[in-house]
Protein backbone atom coordinates (compact mmCIF):
# COMPACT_ATOMS: atom_id res chain seq x y z
CA UNK A 1 0.00 0.00 0.00
CA UNK A 2 1.20 3.45 -0.79
CA UNK A 3 0.47 6.28 1.57
CA UNK A 4 1.77 9.80 1.33
CA UNK A 5 2.84 12.03 4.15
CA UNK A 6 2.25 15.56 3.02
CA UNK A 7 2.70 18.94 4.62
CA UNK A 8 4.52 22.18 4.22
CA UNK A 9 8.04 22.78 5.60
CA UNK A 10 8.29 22.32 9.40
CA UNK A 11 4.83 20.83 9.71
CA UNK A 12 6.03 17.81 11.69
CA UNK A 13 6.25 15.08 9.06
CA UNK A 14 9.69 13.74 9.92
CA UNK A 15 9.10 13.96 13.68
CA UNK A 16 5.99 11.82 13.26
CA UNK A 17 7.87 9.23 11.21
CA UNK A 18 10.63 9.15 13.84
CA UNK A 19 8.16 8.68 16.69
CA UNK A 20 6.15 6.09 14.75
CA UNK A 21 9.30 4.13 14.02
CA UNK A 22 10.16 4.02 17.71
CA UNK A 23 6.60 3.17 18.69
CA UNK A 24 6.42 0.17 16.35
CA UNK A 25 9.90 -1.15 17.10
CA UNK A 26 9.68 -0.68 20.88
CA UNK A 27 6.19 -2.19 21.23
CA UNK A 28 5.88 -0.68 24.71
CA UNK A 29 2.33 0.68 24.55
CA UNK A 30 -0.86 -0.74 22.97
CA UNK A 31 -1.04 0.02 19.26
CA UNK A 32 -3.42 -0.91 16.46
CA UNK A 33 -0.53 -1.82 14.14
CA UNK A 34 2.53 -3.96 14.88
CA UNK A 35 5.84 -4.22 13.11
CA UNK A 36 6.49 -7.53 11.40
CA UNK A 37 9.95 -6.90 10.02
CA UNK A 38 12.55 -4.34 9.06
CA UNK A 39 13.04 -2.81 5.64
CA UNK A 40 16.04 -3.52 3.42
CA UNK A 41 17.42 -0.06 4.07
CA UNK A 42 16.83 1.39 7.51
CA UNK A 43 19.38 4.23 7.30
CA UNK A 44 16.84 7.00 7.01
CA UNK A 45 14.61 5.70 9.80
CA UNK A 46 17.58 5.06 12.08
CA UNK A 47 18.76 8.66 11.72
CA UNK A 48 15.29 10.01 12.48
CA UNK A 49 14.74 7.78 15.51
CA UNK A 50 18.17 8.61 16.91
CA UNK A 51 17.33 12.31 16.96
CA UNK A 52 13.90 11.67 18.40
CA UNK A 53 15.20 9.47 21.22
CA UNK A 54 17.81 12.10 22.11
CA UNK A 55 14.96 14.59 22.59
CA UNK A 56 16.40 16.81 19.89
CA UNK A 57 14.32 18.57 17.28
CA UNK A 58 14.29 16.35 14.22
CA UNK A 59 16.30 18.18 11.57
CA UNK A 60 14.51 19.54 8.55
CA UNK A 61 14.66 17.16 5.63
CA UNK A 62 17.29 18.20 3.11
CA UNK A 63 17.71 17.19 -0.51
CA UNK A 64 20.22 14.49 0.33
CA UNK A 65 18.30 13.20 3.36
CA UNK A 66 14.98 12.69 1.61
CA UNK A 67 13.92 9.10 1.58
CA UNK A 68 11.12 6.59 1.43
CA UNK A 69 10.29 5.12 4.81
CA UNK A 70 9.13 1.52 4.61
CA UNK A 71 7.24 -0.30 7.34
CA UNK A 72 6.33 -3.98 7.30
CA UNK A 73 3.28 -3.96 9.50
CA UNK A 74 0.29 -6.03 10.57
CA UNK A 75 -3.13 -4.88 11.65
CA UNK A 76 -3.62 -6.50 15.06
CA UNK A 77 -7.40 -6.63 14.65
CA UNK A 78 -7.58 -8.18 11.19
CA UNK A 79 -4.11 -9.81 11.01
CA UNK A 80 -3.72 -8.33 7.54
CA UNK A 81 -0.07 -7.71 6.73
CA UNK A 82 1.07 -4.82 4.55
CA UNK A 83 4.17 -3.02 3.44
CA UNK A 84 3.74 0.69 3.90
CA UNK A 85 5.79 3.04 1.74
CA UNK A 86 5.84 6.59 2.92
CA UNK A 87 7.99 9.24 1.28
CA UNK A 88 9.69 11.59 3.72
CA UNK A 89 10.18 14.54 1.40
CA UNK A 90 11.03 18.15 2.08
CA UNK A 91 7.99 20.38 2.51
CA UNK A 92 9.11 22.46 -0.46
CA UNK A 93 8.20 19.57 -2.76
CA UNK A 94 4.55 19.98 -1.78
CA UNK A 95 4.59 23.75 -2.35
CA UNK A 96 5.66 23.51 -5.94
CA UNK A 97 2.24 22.91 -7.57
CA UNK A 98 0.90 26.12 -6.00
CA UNK A 99 4.08 28.16 -6.36
CA UNK A 100 5.40 27.20 -9.77
CA UNK A 101 2.62 25.11 -11.31
CA UNK A 102 4.83 22.02 -11.44
CA UNK A 103 5.39 18.95 -9.34
CA UNK A 104 8.19 16.45 -9.11
CA UNK A 105 7.28 13.69 -11.50
CA UNK A 106 7.96 10.94 -8.96
CA UNK A 107 5.79 12.69 -6.38
CA UNK A 108 3.01 13.27 -8.88
CA UNK A 109 3.05 9.58 -9.77
CA UNK A 110 2.92 8.66 -6.09
CA UNK A 111 0.08 11.13 -5.58
CA UNK A 112 -1.92 9.58 -8.39
CA UNK A 113 -1.38 6.07 -7.14
CA UNK A 114 -1.61 6.56 -3.39
CA UNK A 115 -4.35 5.00 -1.31
CA UNK A 116 -4.45 7.61 1.38
CA UNK A 117 -2.60 10.51 2.92
CA UNK A 118 -1.42 11.79 6.23
CA UNK A 119 -1.69 15.55 6.02
CA UNK A 120 0.28 17.58 8.55
CA UNK A 121 -0.37 21.10 9.69
CA UNK A 122 1.60 22.67 12.52
CA UNK A 123 -0.52 24.36 15.19
CA UNK A 124 2.55 26.19 16.48
CA UNK A 125 3.06 28.66 13.67
CA UNK A 126 2.11 32.25 12.95
CA UNK A 127 -1.29 33.00 11.46
CA UNK A 128 -0.55 33.61 7.78
CA UNK A 129 -3.97 34.87 6.65
CA UNK A 130 -4.52 37.97 8.79
CA UNK A 131 -6.40 40.69 6.90
CA UNK A 132 -5.35 44.29 7.54
CA UNK A 133 -9.04 45.18 7.74
CA UNK A 134 -9.33 42.97 10.81
CA UNK A 135 -6.56 44.94 12.52
CA UNK A 136 -7.98 48.36 11.74
CA UNK A 137 -9.11 48.82 15.32
CA UNK A 138 -5.49 48.62 16.43
CA UNK A 139 -4.40 51.37 14.07
CA UNK A 140 -7.29 53.82 13.79
CA UNK A 141 -10.18 55.04 15.85
CA UNK A 142 -13.50 53.36 15.12
CA UNK A 143 -14.98 56.52 13.59
CA UNK A 144 -12.06 56.73 11.14
CA UNK A 145 -12.58 53.26 9.73
CA UNK A 146 -13.38 53.64 6.08
CA UNK A 147 -11.39 56.84 5.71
CA UNK A 148 -8.27 54.69 5.62
CA UNK A 149 -9.35 52.53 2.72
CA UNK A 150 -7.11 51.95 -0.22
CA UNK A 151 -8.13 54.90 -2.29
CA UNK A 152 -8.68 57.41 0.48
CA UNK A 153 -6.35 60.33 0.98
CA UNK A 154 -4.38 60.05 4.25
CA UNK A 155 -6.05 62.27 6.79
CA UNK A 156 -4.33 64.41 9.36
CA UNK A 157 -6.30 62.70 12.07
CA UNK A 158 -4.90 59.32 11.15
CA UNK A 159 -1.30 60.52 11.47
CA UNK A 160 -0.69 60.05 15.20
CA UNK A 161 -2.51 56.72 15.23
CA UNK A 162 -0.53 55.32 12.36
CA UNK A 163 2.62 56.43 14.12
CA UNK A 164 1.81 53.88 16.83
CA UNK A 165 1.73 50.96 14.42
CA UNK A 166 4.48 48.43 15.12
CA UNK A 167 7.56 48.94 12.99
CA UNK A 168 7.05 45.65 11.24
CA UNK A 169 3.72 46.85 9.93
CA UNK A 170 5.08 50.22 8.83
CA UNK A 171 8.03 48.66 7.03
CA UNK A 172 8.03 49.04 3.26
CA UNK A 173 5.64 46.65 1.56
CA UNK A 174 6.92 43.24 0.55
CA UNK A 175 6.05 42.23 -2.98
CA UNK A 176 4.08 39.05 -3.59
CA UNK A 177 6.15 35.89 -3.50
CA UNK A 178 4.34 32.64 -4.28
CA UNK A 179 6.19 30.77 -1.55
CA UNK A 180 4.67 33.16 1.00
CA UNK A 181 1.12 32.13 0.14
CA UNK A 182 -0.83 30.70 3.09
CA UNK A 183 -0.18 27.07 3.97
CA UNK A 184 -3.80 26.12 3.34
CA UNK A 185 -3.72 27.42 -0.22
CA UNK A 186 -0.61 25.40 -1.03
CA UNK A 187 -2.10 22.25 0.45
CA UNK A 188 -5.40 22.67 -1.40
CA UNK A 189 -3.62 23.12 -4.72
CA UNK A 190 -1.60 19.96 -4.04
CA UNK A 191 -4.79 18.03 -3.25
CA UNK A 192 -6.53 19.40 -6.33
CA UNK A 193 -3.68 18.13 -8.49
CA UNK A 194 -4.48 14.58 -7.34
CA UNK A 195 -7.85 14.70 -9.09
CA UNK A 196 -7.25 17.22 -11.85
CA UNK A 197 -7.44 16.18 -15.48
CA UNK A 198 -5.96 14.11 -17.03
CA UNK A 199 -6.08 12.15 -13.77
CA UNK A 200 -9.39 10.55 -12.93
CA UNK A 201 -10.96 11.53 -9.58
CA UNK A 202 -10.49 8.79 -6.98
CA UNK A 203 -11.99 8.66 -3.52
CA UNK A 204 -9.16 8.69 -1.00
CA UNK A 205 -8.83 8.81 2.73
CA UNK A 206 -7.00 11.66 4.32
CA UNK A 207 -5.98 11.80 7.97
CA UNK A 208 -5.34 15.38 9.01
CA UNK A 209 -2.72 15.49 11.78
CA UNK A 210 -2.48 18.74 13.71
CA UNK A 211 1.07 18.65 15.05
CA UNK A 212 2.29 20.40 18.24
CA UNK A 213 -1.12 19.62 19.73
CA UNK A 214 0.34 19.85 23.26
CA UNK A 215 0.61 23.62 22.76
CA UNK A 216 -3.04 23.97 21.73
CA UNK A 217 -4.53 21.65 24.28
CA UNK A 218 -2.48 22.41 27.37
CA UNK A 219 -5.56 22.33 29.58
CA UNK A 220 -7.62 19.84 27.59
CA UNK A 221 -11.08 20.42 26.22
CA UNK A 222 -10.14 21.42 22.67
CA UNK A 223 -11.37 19.06 19.95
CA UNK A 224 -9.21 18.65 16.83
CA UNK A 225 -12.24 19.03 14.53
CA UNK A 226 -13.25 22.32 16.10
CA UNK A 227 -9.71 23.67 16.07
CA UNK A 228 -9.21 22.67 12.46
CA UNK A 229 -12.46 24.23 11.33
CA UNK A 230 -11.70 27.52 13.08
CA UNK A 231 -7.99 27.79 12.28
CA UNK A 232 -7.74 26.23 8.83
CA UNK A 233 -11.04 27.51 7.44
CA UNK A 234 -10.33 27.21 3.73
CA UNK A 235 -8.88 23.71 3.93
CA UNK A 236 -11.68 22.57 6.24
CA UNK A 237 -14.31 23.85 3.82
CA UNK A 238 -12.52 22.24 0.88
CA UNK A 239 -12.47 18.82 2.52
CA UNK A 240 -16.03 19.17 3.77
CA UNK A 241 -17.52 20.17 0.42
CA UNK A 242 -15.57 17.50 -1.47
CA UNK A 243 -16.58 14.63 0.76
CA UNK A 244 -17.31 12.52 -2.32
CA UNK A 245 -13.56 12.57 -3.03
CA UNK A 246 -11.96 12.99 0.40
CA UNK A 247 -12.90 10.89 3.41
CA UNK A 248 -11.46 12.76 6.37
CA UNK A 249 -10.50 12.13 10.00
CA UNK A 250 -8.81 14.73 12.13
CA UNK A 251 -6.27 14.08 14.89
CA UNK A 252 -4.25 16.23 17.24
CA UNK A 253 -0.71 14.88 17.56
CA UNK A 254 2.25 15.61 19.77
CA UNK A 255 5.01 13.38 18.42
CA UNK A 256 7.75 14.96 20.54
CA UNK A 257 5.60 15.19 23.65
CA UNK A 258 6.53 18.80 24.42
CA UNK A 259 8.44 21.87 23.32
CA UNK A 260 12.10 21.56 22.54
CA UNK A 261 14.50 22.62 23.88
CA UNK A 262 12.40 24.10 26.75
CA UNK A 263 11.01 20.75 27.92
CA UNK A 264 13.96 18.56 26.93
CA UNK A 265 14.93 17.72 30.52
CA UNK A 266 11.40 16.69 31.45
CA UNK A 267 11.02 14.57 28.33
CA UNK A 268 14.32 12.79 28.95
CA UNK A 269 13.08 11.72 32.39
CA UNK A 270 10.18 9.76 30.92
CA UNK A 271 11.23 6.15 31.34
CA UNK A 272 9.12 4.80 28.53
CA UNK A 273 9.77 7.04 25.49
CA UNK A 274 6.66 5.75 23.74
CA UNK A 275 4.63 7.52 26.40
CA UNK A 276 6.08 10.87 25.31
CA UNK A 277 3.89 10.87 22.24
CA UNK A 278 0.23 11.81 22.41
CA UNK A 279 -2.65 11.63 19.96
CA UNK A 280 -6.27 12.72 20.30
CA UNK A 281 -9.29 12.52 18.05
CA UNK A 282 -11.15 9.85 16.08
CA UNK A 283 -11.12 7.49 19.08
CA UNK A 284 -7.35 6.91 18.93
CA UNK A 285 -5.83 5.59 22.15
CA UNK A 286 -3.56 8.01 24.01
CA UNK A 287 -0.11 7.11 22.67
CA UNK A 288 -0.99 5.18 19.52
CA UNK A 289 0.42 7.20 16.65
CA UNK A 290 -0.31 4.27 14.34
CA UNK A 291 -4.07 4.83 14.61
CA UNK A 292 -4.32 7.22 11.63
CA UNK A 293 -2.33 4.79 9.47
CA UNK A 294 -4.50 1.90 10.56
CA UNK A 295 -7.57 3.88 9.53
CA UNK A 296 -6.02 4.63 6.13
CA UNK A 297 -5.30 0.92 5.65
CA UNK A 298 -8.60 -0.39 6.90
CA UNK A 299 -11.08 -1.82 4.40
CA UNK A 300 -14.18 0.03 3.32
CA UNK A 301 -14.68 2.95 1.06
CA UNK A 302 -15.29 2.83 -2.65
CA UNK A 303 -12.41 4.31 -4.66
CA UNK A 304 -14.51 5.27 -7.66
CA UNK A 305 -16.27 8.58 -7.46
CA UNK A 306 -19.88 8.45 -8.54
Amino acid sequence: MLHLIIGMPSSGKSTYIAALRHLLVADEVPTELELTGLADDETHLNRLEKEWLACEPVQRTKPATEGWAQFHIKDRATAVESELSIPDLRGEAFEQPACIGQCRTELLTALSECDGMLLFTNADREDDIIMLDDLMDLFVKPDEIGATSANAEPTEASGPEIASIPATVLAPGISFQPENMPEEVKIIEFLQVANRRPRFPIRRRIAVLISAWDIIDENGGVEPEGWFSANRPLLAQFLETNSDIWQVKIYGVSAQGGRLPQEKAALEKIKNPSKRMRIVGAAASEHDLSAPLRWLMSPGGERNVS
Binding site: R104, D143, I145, E189
Partner: protein, 343 residues
Protein backbone atom coordinates in the same frame (compact mmCIF):
# COMPACT_ATOMS: atom_id res chain seq x y z
CA UNK B 1 17.00 9.01 -12.25
CA UNK B 2 19.75 11.09 -13.73
CA UNK B 3 21.04 13.53 -11.16
CA UNK B 4 22.67 16.78 -12.13
CA UNK B 5 24.18 19.41 -9.83
CA UNK B 6 22.45 22.68 -10.58
CA UNK B 7 22.70 26.10 -9.01
CA UNK B 8 20.96 29.45 -9.38
CA UNK B 9 22.95 32.61 -10.05
CA UNK B 10 20.28 35.03 -8.78
CA UNK B 11 20.97 36.38 -5.30
CA UNK B 12 18.17 35.49 -2.93
CA UNK B 13 16.85 32.63 -5.02
CA UNK B 14 17.16 29.25 -3.42
CA UNK B 15 17.06 27.71 -6.86
CA UNK B 16 17.12 23.96 -7.31
CA UNK B 17 18.27 23.51 -3.70
CA UNK B 18 15.04 25.03 -2.38
CA UNK B 19 12.86 23.63 -5.13
CA UNK B 20 11.43 27.07 -5.96
CA UNK B 21 12.51 29.30 -8.82
CA UNK B 22 12.25 33.03 -8.11
CA UNK B 23 11.36 33.56 -11.79
CA UNK B 24 8.52 31.07 -11.53
CA UNK B 25 10.03 28.85 -14.22
CA UNK B 26 11.01 25.23 -14.28
CA UNK B 27 14.68 24.79 -13.59
CA UNK B 28 15.17 23.44 -17.06
CA UNK B 29 13.77 26.66 -18.52
CA UNK B 30 15.22 29.24 -16.14
CA UNK B 31 18.20 31.00 -17.72
CA UNK B 32 19.69 31.75 -14.29
CA UNK B 33 20.11 28.08 -13.43
CA UNK B 34 23.44 26.67 -14.46
CA UNK B 35 25.22 23.45 -13.80
CA UNK B 36 27.88 23.56 -11.10
CA UNK B 37 30.56 23.07 -13.71
CA UNK B 38 29.57 26.30 -15.43
CA UNK B 39 29.17 28.27 -12.22
CA UNK B 40 32.03 29.84 -10.34
CA UNK B 41 31.49 27.98 -7.10
CA UNK B 42 29.86 24.68 -6.25
CA UNK B 43 26.53 24.93 -4.48
CA UNK B 44 26.14 23.31 -1.10
CA UNK B 45 23.41 23.38 1.46
CA UNK B 46 24.42 25.48 4.42
CA UNK B 47 23.35 24.48 7.89
CA UNK B 48 22.37 26.82 10.71
CA UNK B 49 25.97 27.22 11.86
CA UNK B 50 26.92 28.49 8.45
CA UNK B 51 29.14 25.57 7.55
CA UNK B 52 28.65 23.59 4.39
CA UNK B 53 26.93 20.27 4.63
CA UNK B 54 28.33 18.89 1.42
CA UNK B 55 24.82 17.76 0.62
CA UNK B 56 24.43 17.58 -3.09
CA UNK B 57 21.40 19.39 -4.45
CA UNK B 58 19.42 17.01 -6.56
CA UNK B 59 17.66 17.93 -9.77
CA UNK B 60 14.22 16.39 -10.06
CA UNK B 61 12.23 15.88 -13.22
CA UNK B 62 9.17 18.12 -13.06
CA UNK B 63 5.68 17.78 -14.54
CA UNK B 64 3.23 20.67 -15.09
CA UNK B 65 0.20 20.48 -12.81
CA UNK B 66 -2.09 22.74 -14.87
CA UNK B 67 -2.91 25.07 -12.01
CA UNK B 68 -2.91 28.72 -12.98
CA UNK B 69 -2.75 32.22 -11.61
CA UNK B 70 -5.53 33.29 -13.93
CA UNK B 71 -7.37 31.72 -16.83
CA UNK B 72 -7.18 33.18 -20.31
CA UNK B 73 -10.22 33.19 -22.61
CA UNK B 74 -9.40 29.78 -24.09
CA UNK B 75 -8.81 28.09 -20.72
CA UNK B 76 -12.01 29.66 -19.42
CA UNK B 77 -13.93 28.33 -22.41
CA UNK B 78 -12.51 24.84 -21.85
CA UNK B 79 -13.49 24.96 -18.18
CA UNK B 80 -17.02 26.13 -18.95
CA UNK B 81 -17.49 23.43 -21.58
CA UNK B 82 -16.19 20.75 -19.23
CA UNK B 83 -18.01 21.71 -16.07
CA UNK B 84 -20.52 24.42 -16.89
CA UNK B 85 -20.71 27.36 -14.55
CA UNK B 86 -21.77 30.93 -14.08
CA UNK B 87 -19.72 33.59 -15.82
CA UNK B 88 -19.77 37.00 -14.16
CA UNK B 89 -18.60 39.83 -16.40
CA UNK B 90 -17.39 42.91 -14.58
CA UNK B 91 -17.74 46.19 -16.45
CA UNK B 92 -16.12 49.35 -15.06
CA UNK B 93 -13.64 52.09 -15.75
CA UNK B 94 -10.22 52.34 -14.12
CA UNK B 95 -9.90 52.23 -10.33
CA UNK B 96 -13.53 51.44 -9.70
CA UNK B 97 -12.79 48.38 -7.64
CA UNK B 98 -13.05 45.41 -10.01
CA UNK B 99 -10.06 43.52 -8.68
CA UNK B 100 -10.85 44.50 -5.09
CA UNK B 101 -14.33 43.05 -5.48
CA UNK B 102 -12.97 39.75 -6.82
CA UNK B 103 -10.35 39.58 -4.07
CA UNK B 104 -12.82 40.41 -1.30
CA UNK B 105 -15.27 37.73 -2.37
CA UNK B 106 -12.43 35.20 -2.06
CA UNK B 107 -11.27 36.57 1.30
CA UNK B 108 -14.75 36.44 2.80
CA UNK B 109 -15.38 32.90 1.62
CA UNK B 110 -11.91 31.89 2.85
CA UNK B 111 -12.92 33.00 6.36
CA UNK B 112 -16.48 31.62 6.27
CA UNK B 113 -17.88 35.12 6.42
CA UNK B 114 -20.61 34.61 3.85
CA UNK B 115 -23.37 32.56 5.39
CA UNK B 116 -24.27 29.35 3.58
CA UNK B 117 -21.56 29.64 0.93
CA UNK B 118 -18.58 27.32 1.24
CA UNK B 119 -15.36 26.99 -0.70
CA UNK B 120 -15.05 23.81 -2.75
CA UNK B 121 -12.00 24.56 -4.89
CA UNK B 122 -10.42 26.89 -7.39
CA UNK B 123 -8.36 26.56 -10.55
CA UNK B 124 -6.84 29.98 -9.93
CA UNK B 125 -5.78 29.96 -6.29
CA UNK B 126 -2.52 31.75 -6.98
CA UNK B 127 -4.39 34.44 -8.93
CA UNK B 128 -6.60 35.13 -5.93
CA UNK B 129 -3.63 35.22 -3.61
CA UNK B 130 -1.87 37.74 -5.85
CA UNK B 131 -4.95 39.93 -5.77
CA UNK B 132 -5.42 39.64 -1.99
CA UNK B 133 -1.84 39.97 -0.93
CA UNK B 134 -1.69 43.74 -0.44
CA UNK B 135 -4.70 43.59 1.89
CA UNK B 136 -2.97 41.13 4.23
CA UNK B 137 -0.63 41.73 7.12
CA UNK B 138 1.98 39.59 5.39
CA UNK B 139 2.47 42.36 2.81
CA UNK B 140 3.79 44.72 5.52
CA UNK B 141 1.35 47.39 4.31
CA UNK B 142 -0.44 49.48 6.88
CA UNK B 143 -3.63 49.97 4.89
CA UNK B 144 -5.29 47.37 2.69
CA UNK B 145 -4.72 47.79 -1.03
CA UNK B 146 -5.22 45.92 -4.30
CA UNK B 147 -2.73 45.61 -7.16
CA UNK B 148 -3.84 47.59 -10.21
CA UNK B 149 -4.64 45.65 -13.37
CA UNK B 150 -2.20 46.92 -15.98
CA UNK B 151 -3.56 48.44 -19.18
CA UNK B 152 -1.47 45.99 -21.18
CA UNK B 153 -2.91 43.05 -19.26
CA UNK B 154 -5.18 40.88 -21.34
CA UNK B 155 -8.60 39.69 -20.32
CA UNK B 156 -8.25 37.16 -17.51
CA UNK B 157 -10.58 35.10 -15.40
CA UNK B 158 -10.57 33.78 -11.86
CA UNK B 159 -12.45 30.68 -10.82
CA UNK B 160 -14.19 29.52 -7.66
CA UNK B 161 -16.13 26.35 -6.92
CA UNK B 162 -18.72 27.17 -4.32
CA UNK B 163 -21.11 25.02 -2.34
CA UNK B 164 -24.52 26.06 -1.12
CA UNK B 165 -27.03 23.77 0.53
CA UNK B 166 -29.70 24.81 -2.00
CA UNK B 167 -27.71 24.43 -5.21
CA UNK B 168 -24.85 22.07 -4.35
CA UNK B 169 -21.52 22.87 -6.02
CA UNK B 170 -21.38 25.55 -8.70
CA UNK B 171 -18.47 26.90 -10.69
CA UNK B 172 -18.27 30.68 -10.75
CA UNK B 173 -15.93 32.56 -13.06
CA UNK B 174 -15.20 36.27 -12.74
CA UNK B 175 -13.76 38.26 -15.62
CA UNK B 176 -11.04 40.80 -14.92
CA UNK B 177 -9.72 43.25 -17.45
CA UNK B 178 -8.16 46.69 -17.30
CA UNK B 179 -10.58 49.58 -16.85
CA UNK B 180 -8.86 51.38 -19.73
CA UNK B 181 -10.28 48.79 -22.13
CA UNK B 182 -13.78 50.00 -21.24
CA UNK B 183 -12.73 53.63 -21.65
CA UNK B 184 -11.35 52.83 -25.09
CA UNK B 185 -14.48 51.07 -26.26
CA UNK B 186 -16.46 54.24 -25.62
CA UNK B 187 -14.57 55.77 -28.55
CA UNK B 188 -14.97 52.74 -30.80
CA UNK B 189 -18.29 51.13 -29.82
CA UNK B 190 -18.02 48.29 -32.32
CA UNK B 191 -15.04 47.05 -30.38
CA UNK B 192 -17.45 45.77 -27.73
CA UNK B 193 -17.97 42.67 -29.87
CA UNK B 194 -14.39 41.69 -28.98
CA UNK B 195 -15.29 41.62 -25.29
CA UNK B 196 -15.81 37.87 -25.23
CA UNK B 197 -16.72 37.75 -21.57
CA UNK B 198 -19.76 39.99 -21.97
CA UNK B 199 -21.16 37.96 -24.84
CA UNK B 200 -20.82 34.75 -22.81
CA UNK B 201 -21.76 36.18 -19.40
CA UNK B 202 -24.68 35.02 -17.33
CA UNK B 203 -24.43 38.08 -15.12
CA UNK B 204 -23.08 41.53 -15.95
CA UNK B 205 -21.97 43.80 -13.12
CA UNK B 206 -21.68 47.49 -13.91
CA UNK B 207 -19.45 48.94 -11.21
CA UNK B 208 -19.79 52.57 -10.17
CA UNK B 209 -17.46 54.32 -7.74
CA UNK B 210 -19.91 55.80 -5.22
CA UNK B 211 -17.50 58.46 -4.08
CA UNK B 212 -17.19 59.72 -7.64
CA UNK B 213 -20.92 59.37 -8.16
CA UNK B 214 -21.57 61.76 -5.29
CA UNK B 215 -18.66 64.11 -5.81
CA UNK B 216 -18.99 64.68 -9.54
CA UNK B 217 -21.83 62.54 -10.88
CA UNK B 218 -22.01 63.59 -14.53
CA UNK B 219 -18.91 61.82 -15.79
CA UNK B 220 -19.45 58.40 -14.15
CA UNK B 221 -23.14 58.42 -15.08
CA UNK B 222 -22.34 59.33 -18.66
CA UNK B 223 -19.69 56.61 -18.89
CA UNK B 224 -21.94 53.88 -17.51
CA UNK B 225 -24.85 55.07 -19.62
CA UNK B 226 -22.79 54.91 -22.81
CA UNK B 227 -21.34 51.51 -21.94
CA UNK B 228 -24.84 50.25 -21.25
CA UNK B 229 -26.20 51.62 -24.54
CA UNK B 230 -23.32 50.09 -26.52
CA UNK B 231 -23.93 46.67 -24.98
CA UNK B 232 -27.70 46.85 -25.12
CA UNK B 233 -27.76 47.88 -28.78
CA UNK B 234 -25.34 45.07 -29.58
CA UNK B 235 -27.71 42.57 -27.98
CA UNK B 236 -25.18 41.65 -25.31
CA UNK B 237 -27.47 42.19 -22.32
CA UNK B 238 -30.55 40.30 -23.41
CA UNK B 239 -31.59 37.52 -21.02
CA UNK B 240 -28.86 38.30 -18.49
CA UNK B 241 -28.96 39.43 -14.91
CA UNK B 242 -27.62 42.95 -14.67
CA UNK B 243 -26.53 44.52 -11.43
CA UNK B 244 -25.47 48.13 -11.02
CA UNK B 245 -23.00 47.81 -8.18
CA UNK B 246 -21.96 50.87 -6.21
CA UNK B 247 -18.47 50.27 -4.84
CA UNK B 248 -16.48 51.86 -2.02
CA UNK B 249 -19.46 52.37 0.26
CA UNK B 250 -16.92 52.23 3.08
CA UNK B 251 -15.76 55.70 2.01
CA UNK B 252 -19.14 57.25 2.80
CA UNK B 253 -18.50 59.44 5.83
CA UNK B 254 -21.94 59.06 7.41
CA UNK B 255 -25.12 57.05 7.22
CA UNK B 256 -26.82 60.01 5.51
CA UNK B 257 -24.14 60.08 2.86
CA UNK B 258 -24.58 56.36 2.31
CA UNK B 259 -28.33 56.80 1.89
CA UNK B 260 -27.63 59.56 -0.61
CA UNK B 261 -25.36 57.19 -2.54
CA UNK B 262 -28.02 54.49 -2.49
CA UNK B 263 -30.54 56.95 -3.93
CA UNK B 264 -28.14 58.08 -6.67
CA UNK B 265 -27.49 54.45 -7.59
CA UNK B 266 -31.20 53.66 -7.80
CA UNK B 267 -31.75 56.69 -10.03
CA UNK B 268 -28.93 55.55 -12.31
CA UNK B 269 -30.41 52.06 -12.51
CA UNK B 270 -33.84 53.43 -13.48
CA UNK B 271 -32.16 55.62 -16.05
CA UNK B 272 -30.47 52.59 -17.62
CA UNK B 273 -33.64 50.52 -17.57
CA UNK B 274 -35.63 53.08 -19.52
CA UNK B 275 -32.99 52.99 -22.26
CA UNK B 276 -33.56 49.32 -22.93
CA UNK B 277 -35.87 48.11 -25.69
CA UNK B 278 -36.55 44.84 -23.89
CA UNK B 279 -37.41 44.10 -20.25
CA UNK B 280 -34.26 43.54 -18.20
CA UNK B 281 -33.51 41.97 -14.83
CA UNK B 282 -31.62 44.97 -13.50
CA UNK B 283 -31.12 46.01 -9.87
CA UNK B 284 -28.88 48.38 -7.91
CA UNK B 285 -26.63 47.03 -5.18
CA UNK B 286 -24.34 48.84 -2.79
CA UNK B 287 -21.17 47.14 -1.54
CA UNK B 288 -18.02 47.88 0.37
CA UNK B 289 -15.01 45.66 -0.02
CA UNK B 290 -13.36 47.26 3.00
CA UNK B 291 -14.74 47.88 6.46
CA UNK B 292 -17.57 50.40 6.86
CA UNK B 293 -18.51 52.70 9.69
CA UNK B 294 -20.40 50.76 12.32
CA UNK B 295 -19.67 47.42 10.70
CA UNK B 296 -17.42 44.91 12.39
CA UNK B 297 -16.25 43.14 9.27
CA UNK B 298 -15.36 44.01 5.70
CA UNK B 299 -17.56 43.14 2.76
CA UNK B 300 -20.94 44.76 3.37
CA UNK B 301 -23.39 43.79 0.62
CA UNK B 302 -21.14 41.11 -0.85
CA UNK B 303 -23.22 38.34 0.67
CA UNK B 304 -26.28 39.72 -1.14
CA UNK B 305 -24.34 39.92 -4.39
CA UNK B 306 -23.11 36.34 -4.07
CA UNK B 307 -26.56 34.99 -3.33
CA UNK B 308 -27.78 36.86 -6.39
CA UNK B 309 -25.02 35.32 -8.52
CA UNK B 310 -25.66 31.80 -7.23
CA UNK B 311 -29.43 31.97 -7.46
CA UNK B 312 -30.55 29.59 -10.22
CA UNK B 313 -31.95 31.14 -13.35
CA UNK B 314 -35.73 30.71 -13.56
CA UNK B 315 -36.65 28.20 -16.24
CA UNK B 316 -37.41 29.86 -19.57
CA UNK B 317 -40.95 29.79 -20.90
CA UNK B 318 -41.50 27.69 -23.99
CA UNK B 319 -44.08 28.49 -26.61
CA UNK B 320 -44.90 26.70 -29.83
CA UNK B 321 -44.04 28.48 -33.01
CA UNK B 322 -46.91 29.76 -35.07
CA UNK B 323 -45.56 28.72 -38.46
CA UNK B 324 -47.16 25.73 -40.09
CA UNK B 325 -46.04 23.83 -43.17
CA UNK B 326 -47.97 24.72 -46.29
CA UNK B 327 -47.92 21.03 -47.26
CA UNK B 328 -48.51 19.20 -43.95
CA UNK B 329 -47.36 15.63 -43.70
CA UNK B 330 -49.22 12.85 -41.92
CA UNK B 331 -47.17 13.53 -38.79
CA UNK B 332 -47.94 17.27 -38.94
CA UNK B 333 -51.63 16.53 -39.17
CA UNK B 334 -51.37 14.14 -36.26
CA UNK B 335 -49.51 16.71 -34.15
CA UNK B 336 -51.84 19.54 -35.01
CA UNK B 337 -54.61 18.06 -32.90
CA UNK B 338 -52.33 18.02 -29.84
CA UNK B 339 -51.23 21.54 -30.55
CA UNK B 340 -54.78 22.81 -30.78
CA UNK B 341 -55.59 21.05 -27.53
CA UNK B 342 -52.74 22.86 -25.69
CA UNK B 343 -53.71 26.21 -27.14
Amino acid sequence: MEQTILQCNVPGCGGPASGICINGLSFEECPDVTSAKQGEAPLFDTNEKGTTDALTPVFHAMTPTNGAGSLDAISCDILLRARGGILVAIVAGPETGKTTLIATIYELIFRRRIANIKFAGSETLRGYEERCYLARLASNNNIPDTPRTRTAAKLSFTHLRLFTSENGIKDIIFSDRSGEHFENVLSTPRGIMNFAEIARADIVLFLVDLKELLRSPHLPISQIRRLFIIMEKSGLLSGKKIRVVGTKADLMESAERKAEAQQALSTLTSDLLRRSDTPLDIKPLLISARRCIGVSEAGEGIDVLMKDILEPKPPGTFTHGTTWPTRPTELDRLMSSYRNREE
